[in-house]
Symmetry: C2
Subunit: 212 residues, 2 copies
């Protein structure tokens, strides 16, 4: 069962301090993931680097939480979804996505997807494209206020999406009760590669709070 | 445009040698990704580890390929999709998935999804579940012979999928020309969490080869 988010009683200065410690570590690991795929150094160097990585991991594991990071909020309501597979500041699997809400209601994410997100040669894996579109469309649906879950998401692949810099855009088309209908696109410099339509739903645990 | 796979003239011994060099490196990086999310060591240790990681990455980058790894085959027809975001031996973003084809036509993947794949607290991100189901269903559709792309994939989320050991299963329901209809499930120890139906299509570049 999905539980409401955990709360931590910390202020914005403490959030910034933590982000400044953990963000650069995750960025370094993202860069390592890319280099691990693309390196052509000799075998002995690969083995030596692997040993270094294992030792670094052991240092981090000297003290750690049980299980996943979870979605955390401060008691002041600031979200810290730092373990999230799409947007996690501390998660090197996440690109990560940063969604910007425009004054016109259009939510946008600029993202560079490199070798770690490849499917067909030179192109972004279709499921990674879906993750990006789902997240940006979901952000538009919630517009920072209403939590949501994805009801349906339909993608039309107009052409393969090349690795490199991409832009996702999403906006609300209409809202019916707890359902929000959103359209979104993924594009490279040459134009749209994928069109998406999604229905997003306010989860039961959030409805009573929103009704108050 | 999606291109046919690149060919490399190497034998099975050379494939095994490369897998034995690069597989352990990517495994070490996967473990580091998990530790980066979950660590609670002091800030100075985090900073020191980040510096170590950056130095390790620089060693790997002393010699590297341009762009992504791509899908490679040996001239003997053995696939090496080692950069792939779902199954890549060299890609620490990939869980990675290993699909086993049963004699009964059921394709199965056992996978442990930890902190790096989290969405809602304690649960696998919905898009990661979709990636797993898409890949296993696609493998069933191609049954090792016919390349395919996903036409549609429809998911029914019966309940949230917890982090931990999971099993995906898929099988062909029927085939119509270049279209193959597949059903699949994702399950934890307590039973099915997601049901999926997909239509998979043989891409144009593979049809002429299959017709010969």
């Amino acid at each position: 069962m999905i539980v409401p988010p955990a709360l931590e009683d910390i202020d914005s200065a403490e959030i910034e301090r933590r982000a400044a410690v953990y963000g650069p570590l995750a960025d370094a690991v993202r860069d390592l993931v890319d280099a691990t795929i693309r390196t052509t150094v000799d075998d002995d160097t690969v083995r030596a680097v692997a040993a270094t990585i294992r030792a670094a991991t052991a240092r981090l594991r000297e003290s750690q939480i049980e299980g996943g990071f979870g979605i955390r909020y401060t008691t002041g309501g600031v979200p810290m979804p730092w373990g999230n597979a799409a947007i996690g500041l501390r998660n090197a699997v996440a690109p990560p996505l940063h969604v910007v809400a425009g004054a016109d209601g259009v939510h946008t994410a600029e993202v560079e997807l490199g070798a770690a997100y490849e499917g067909a040669t030179g192109h972004v894996h279709g499921n990674v494209c879906a993750l990006v579109l789902d997240h940006v469309a979901g952000s538009a649906a919630s517009h920072g206020e209403r939590p949501h879950v994805t009801g349906t998401l339909t993608l039309r692949y107009r052409r393969p999406t090349p690795l490199g810099p991409l832009r996702a855009r999403a906006r609300i088309e209409r809202t019916e009760g707890w359902k929000t209908f959103v359209t979104a696109t993924l594009a490279d410099a040459a134009g749209v590669t994928i069109e998406a339509e999604g229905v997003f739903i306010v989860p039961a645990w959030a409805r009573s709070r929103l009704e108050r």
